[in-house]
Every structure is written in structure tokens, then in C-alpha cells.
Symmetry: C2
Subunit: 425 residues, 2 copies
């Protein structure tokens, strides 16, 4: 490490939380190291658009070194953390090295969980990384190409059936966008198949879509998806996922691709530290986001379970991670400088939204419930504003405008191996 | 096939030649099938910019179905051709199917050749497909990340040495762009290494770079590359490429990545047909681009060797392929319609160019020799004009403007597995 004698802060994870913490520590009297397995910050809320060929990876991802170029006290390290030795105050890296810290900020996020059904994993695709998104894109486009070449109607029907498990925002977004891809972008492009016949099935075990939203908005999302041709199946749990499709309740659905958007599990930070975890594996943190028994270790974002006093932990949303990261960064900067520390973290809920398709969304903004075009407009503006750099913003804006007016998809590229498995362990 | 009773034309390859042929057959009284292993047309001249993180795959590739959407008599088939049964008039596909034709246009292009040294292949990267470009990009970015984490000066020096074999346009473009990447884009982004110390070595066995150009332009390219910090080594052949670098003449160069831009070999169409091939494996074609002994079979672009009367075959350039494709398309449309056929193919040489880096290029345009900024401007304009669709043109223009003013690289993303081998067999 940099032998400056300054306190060493290690941040693990360059998602919304880790990046916000690093930015808040800009110019502080600390040597900061930001570790991530990848070399980039990923704007996760738009990852589904890379998976559905509307955007390119470079539109929603920016190199961490570019984002932190102006902060000489922040070092970027592309490496995988595999554990923490809390008594030695060291982070363990996959290549055997150890990284000493005075303060540690864990922002490792969550991964998709199959809730114990790991046999399903090889047959279902998840959407967490850029590699996942490109694999889903290749699988979707490949299904249409293979269907075009098949003489067997049953096989065509299977190939053009896309099943999405999980009716949260990601599931709703994927279902709506795949239906649009088939019904507009690809509609006129094949000789033997009619892509508009593609079947998109959205399966949600609970009683309604978007359970975190108001029931009226859930009902609107349901209607809007049905209008796009999506089959919405509520109230039945997935029994089985195999190489040929899935079983939902008593119904068998043969499918060309199954996307798993159903539930996440925090990455194993609680186990690393040997501390109490919530049901989803997240570290139960104190009001200042520190880990009980380890006042020098903090957990933020999806890997933390923060009780806001309502009895419910804060949701796994980008704004929560971002605000917690900025808070912990400010807190440590103050502590190191000997200034007064901020009081307990408080989440400011500016709203939540989910997009359903071209021109449709639902949103709760400042207590106001919005749906339809106005919600979609709000969603577009908010997401453009949230992007971390001007270049991405410009590129996404142009791609969106293009797609909106032409119904085209600029990134309709089949690359690599459509059969390869999801990268997320 | 489409049972219309119309003549069946099969085009193998959706590069510049195959696409031009398909477009020229738009609206003709033929059922046309365009086969390609990928789903897209690739603008190869800018592939090196994807490899060096300046552009995204979607900027230079467009789905064949989108490009040919307006031609109902042209069918697109994503499949790999593995041979031709000329007596049965059928194309053999990798999955065992056979595709009948009345006329066949072979536009399968060329692949990089190691001239019998196939043991070098696992250790050198080539640049033919989008997957190749992303693998090179990952290898380049990964070398800097690994160097940043190394404590061994010899290893750092090796990791930051990039050797390029072959002083033709692609080698010159890659060498100049990698040098710029290290000296501008990445220069300020690391803590322990100075990317400006990266060593870029361009090895050419012949006596000068860009042998197809005027010697004065070759000399300029040499100077311009040296000014960018590239080591140019002329007149010494590569003796060996292994996992740790290469041997050129008597010199050993340990390198983090070796890029092979040295020579190509036509894909095996001549062997498929059992006809005479030129030294590079290309089919020796007649003045109308047809294959001797097979008047219903045509070969165009890099897979064809066309004697323009000068004793030299036409060079393996995009404009040659494009003009031959358009010519054969027009010829067949006329033949089928019973109209007068065009006379022998004639290549119109509008010029050739090679870019050396930001603001520098060499060009021969309408007999005029250009170098420096003017040549670069001409290069930029010509390449923007040549792109097949407006969307790509807009996107490339914006990315270039951004990079030009900021020295940034929008696509600095490490994805997938930097270690994976090149896709080109």
C-alpha cells in the first residue's frame, strides 16, 4: 500500500454504494483503495436494455479509473475479494494477497438466488453483469434465427417461447421489452416465422406484479403487459426448471429461454465476518452502517440490512446504496479529520419506478403515483440524470431517441457463444 | 427453399462483397439466400477501433436482416457453409443440411494465416471478427491492470510490451492506436505504473511499412509512428512466437500480447470446388468473376484472385469486394431477365488509405498522395460515408468527436475472459 502513514480505507465493490463512498472520500486525509472484480462501474438499472439489444455495454458502463481519475488519494484495484480477516484487519484476495485496512467498507451487493434449487441454475439465465446481458441477448436473437430454420412447428413454438420468472421491476422490464422486440423490431425481418407469434410468459409466485408498489400501479402494469402480448401468470410458484423449459404450478411451459429475475441473496460478507445476517444473507448493520462488534467495518447497499425503524429493512435499490455510500464516506472523512461525525444514516426516498415498455411505466415520485406516458417520461429523465458521466448520458439519449422513432435496435448483434452459461456464481 | 420456380441464387458471406451482391439482386426475378456464420455485416476497416476501446461492436456492425429488410426476394440465413457439391449444385451446411442453387456467389473472404507455423496460433491474437476485437481489447486493458499489481519490474516491463507483427495497414493502425491509448487515454489513471512507459513494437519482415503505398508515404508512416513512441523494426522475420513473446531476427522480445497482422489466406473455396488457386489460396476467376469450369459459380472479394491484366491480382480491399459483388449481382439480374449482360469486371481505384493515429494518416486519392492531417480528415470522411447505415454513421461520428476532444475511450471495458483464444480458425 501507499506508505503515507495515513489511515487506510478499503472499499470492496464498485457499484452505486462503493463508488459513492469513494467519491465522498475524495480529498480526505485517507489512502483509499477501491476493489472490484471488474474494471467498471455498471449502471445496473439499464442492464436489461443491453440484454434486449437496445444499448451497448459501453453505454452503461464506465471504467472506474476514469470515474476516479480526479481523486489522487483513491487507488483502483481490479481484484476479487474472497474474505476478510477481521482480527488482522486484512481483506483476502483471490490470488492469495492480503490487503491491510484501518477501515473497511463492504459494498459487494447481491447475486441471484435459486433458493436452494441449484439444479435449475444451468437452465436459467440471470442478469447481473455485462457478460450476463450479452449472453441473454445472444440467446434471444439466436432463438429467432434457429426458429427460422426449423421445419418442426412444435420446436418453433418452443424456441419462440420466453419465460421470465419473477414479477419485480426487472422481470416486468424484461417481459415488456422482449415482447416489444418480437412485435416491432423483429416483426418484418424473417421469411418463415412471424416473430409476432413469440410467446412471452411472466411468472410471479405472489398475488401481483411489482409487489413493492401500490396495488393500483400493479394492476396497471399487468394490463399494460397484457396489451403488449405478455402472458402474466400470478400466484403459482415454479416447480421445476430444466433444459426444455419450466413447470409453473401444474402447467408445463416448453421454452427456448428461461430468465430468472426472482430473488437475490446478499453476497457472503456476513459469513466473512461471522456476524448476524438477515434472511437474505445481508449483514445487519447499526444506525451508522457499521457492523456490530466491528466498529471499523461498514456494510452498505444490497449486502447490508438496515432497519430504518419501520421494522422493514431498506429495499435493495440503487438510491439506498448510493446514499449509504456517500454517508459512510462523509462519516469516515470526518472521523479521520477529527471533525464532528454525522448522526445516524437516514434514507431519503425520492421515489421508485419501473418501466413496462416503450412509453409506459409506473412511478411513485414524492408520494405521487404516476402511470403511463408521464411515468415513462419521468423514468427516462431520472435515469439519464442518474448516469455517472456525460458521455454515457449522450450515448443513451441518442440510442433511445433512435429506437423510439424507428422501433429499431442498434445492438442486434449475435456474438460469442449463445449457449454459454451465466457468469454470475 | 421458396418454391417459386424462380432461379435460386445462394450468396455465401455477408462481408462487403456478399452484401453488395445481395443489394444488387434486390427486386430481381431470383430467390436469393444470403448465408453467414454471424447475424451481421461487419465494417472491417474500423474493427481495430473496437479492439482499442474507441468504438463498440454495435457502432460498426449491423444485423443483415435490418440491412436487407427492404428486399423481400432476399432471404437471410445464419448458418455456416462447409463445402460445395458442385455437381449437385448444393451448398453444404455445418448442420448437415444442403442448400440447392442455380447460381452461387462465394464471398467467404480470408482468414489470418500463420504460414505453416500453426504452433504460434495459441500465442498470437488476430483481428477478423467482433469476438477477436473484444478479446484483444480485454487483453490490452488486462495487461495494464496486471502490471499495476505486480512488484516485479521485469514482469511489468513484459506485460506493458505489445508486439505487432505485420506492417500493412492493420499493423500500422493497431501500433499507432495502442501507443496513443497508453500515452494519452490511460496515462494518468494508475498509481504504480506509468502507462506512457508501455513499449509498442511493430515488426515487419519487408524493407518498409505499407508496402502497397508509395515509398514516401511509407517513410512518413514510419516517422509518424516513431513520434508516437512506436519501435518500428524492419527487414527481420519472426522466428518464433510463444507464450512469453516472440523472437524477431536474433532479438528476443518478451511481450504481454502479440498481435498477428501479417498475412491472410483465402478461405477454402478453391478446395471446395477443386479448382486452381492462387498462392494465397484464392480462386482464380475469369473476367466476369466466374469460376473456370463452373460458369454458374462466382467468387468475389478476398476469396477470389482477379487478374486485372497488370499481372498482379487485385488487392484484398473492401472496395474491390464491394465492386465485384455489385457487378456479379447486376450480371445475374441481367442474365435471369434475359437482358444484355455487362462486359468484364473493371475495378475503379478511388484510392487507398491507412490511418496512423489521432490526426495522422496516409492516403492516395485520385492519384494524389496525401499525408498528415489532411489525409486523416479524408480518411475520416470516407469511412463515415462508407458505413452502411445512418445509425452507425451517427454513432461513430459522436464517438470519434468525443475521443478527439477528450482523448478518452468510451469503451474501456474488460468483459469476458481476457485469456480466451481468438475465434478465427
Amino acid at each position: 500500500m501507499m506508505p503515507t502513514g495515513k489511515p487506510k480505507i478499503v472499499i470492496v465493490g464498485s457499484g452505486f454504494g462503493g463508488l459513492a463512498a469513494a467519491k465522498a472520500l475524495h480529498g480526505s486525509a485517507a489512502d483509499v483503495t477501491l476493489i472490484d472484480r471488474t474494471n467498471h462501474h455498471l449502471f445496473q438499472p439499464l442492464l436489461y436494455q443491453v440484454a434486449t439489444a437496445a444499448l451497448s455495454p459501453a453505454d452503461i458502463a464506465t471504467a472506474n479509473r476514469v470515474l476516479l481519475r480526479g481523486s489522487p488519494n483513491v487507488r483502483v484495484l481490479m481484484a476479487e475479494a474472497t474474505g476478510v480477516d477481521a482480527s488482522a484487519r486484512e481483506v483476502l484476495l483471490a490470488d492469495g494477497r492480503r490487503l491491510a485496512y484501518d477501515y473497511l467498507i463492504l459494498a459487494t451487493g447481491a447475486a441471484y438466488s435459486f433458493f436452494g434449487n441449484d439444479a435449475w441454475r444451468p437452465h436459467a439465465r440471470v442478469l447481473k453483469s455485462l457478460d450476463d446481458a450479452l449472453a441473454i441477448r445472444a440467446a434471444l436473437l439466436d432463438a429467432f434465427e434457429r426458429a427460422e430454420q426449423s421445419n418442426d412447428p412444435a420446436e418453433v413454438r418452443k424456441l419462440l417461447t420466453f419465460a421470465i420468472v419473477g414479477g419485480g421491476p426487472t422481470g416486468v422490464e424484461m417481459a415488456g421489452t422482449i415482447a416489444e422486440l418480437a412485435r416491432t423490431t423483429l416483426a418484418r425481418d424473417f421469411t418463415y416465422i412471424d416473430p409476432r407469434q413469440a410467446r412471452v410468459v411472466l411468472c410471479e409466485a405472489g398475488g401481483r406484479l411489482l409487489a413493492a408498489f401500490d396495488p393500483a400501479l400493479s394492476a396497471y402494469a399487468d394490463e399494460a403487459l397484457e396489451a403488449l402480448g405478455v402472458e402474466v401468470r400470478l400466484g403459482k410458484a415454479v416447480q421445476e426448471i430444466d433444459a426444455n423449459g419450466l413447470t409453473v404450478g401444474d402447467d408445463r411451459i416448453d421454452a427456448g429461454a428461461v430468465l430468472w429475475c426472482a430473488g437475490t441473496q446478499a453476497r457472503p460478507a456476513a459469513r466473512w465476518l461471522g456476524v448476524e445476517a438477515a434472511r437474505n444473507g445481508a449483514v445487519k448493520v447499526r444506525p451508522d452502517c457499521s457492523v456490530p462488534g466491528h466498529p471499523e467495518v461498514f456494510a452498505i447497499g444490497d449486502v447490508a440490512s438496515y432497519d430504518s425503524g419501520s421494522g422493514h429493512p431498506l429495499p435493495g435499490l440503487a438510491p439506498v446504496a448510493k446514499q449509504q455510500g456517500a454517508y459512510v464516506g462523509r462519516l469516515l472523512a470526518a472521523r479521520i479529520a477529527g471533525r464532528a461525525e454525522p448522526s445516524a444514516f437516514r434514507y431519503r426516498d425520492y421515489g421508485t419506478m419501473a418501466v413496462i415498455g416503450r412509453s409506459r411505466a409506473v412511478a411513485v415520485l414524492a408520494g405521487l403515483k404516476l402511470k403511463g406516458f408521464l411515468a415513462w417520461l419521468a423514468w427516462s429523465l431520472v435515469h439519464l440524470m442518474l448516469m455517472v458521466d456525460f458521455r454515457s448520458r449522450l450515448s443513451v439519449y441518442i440510442n433511445w431517441s433512435w429506437a423510439w422513432f424507428t422501433y429499431g435496435r442498434g445492438a442486434r448483434l449475435l456474438m460469442g457463444e449463445p449457449g454459454r452459461a451465466a457468469s454470475d456464481p
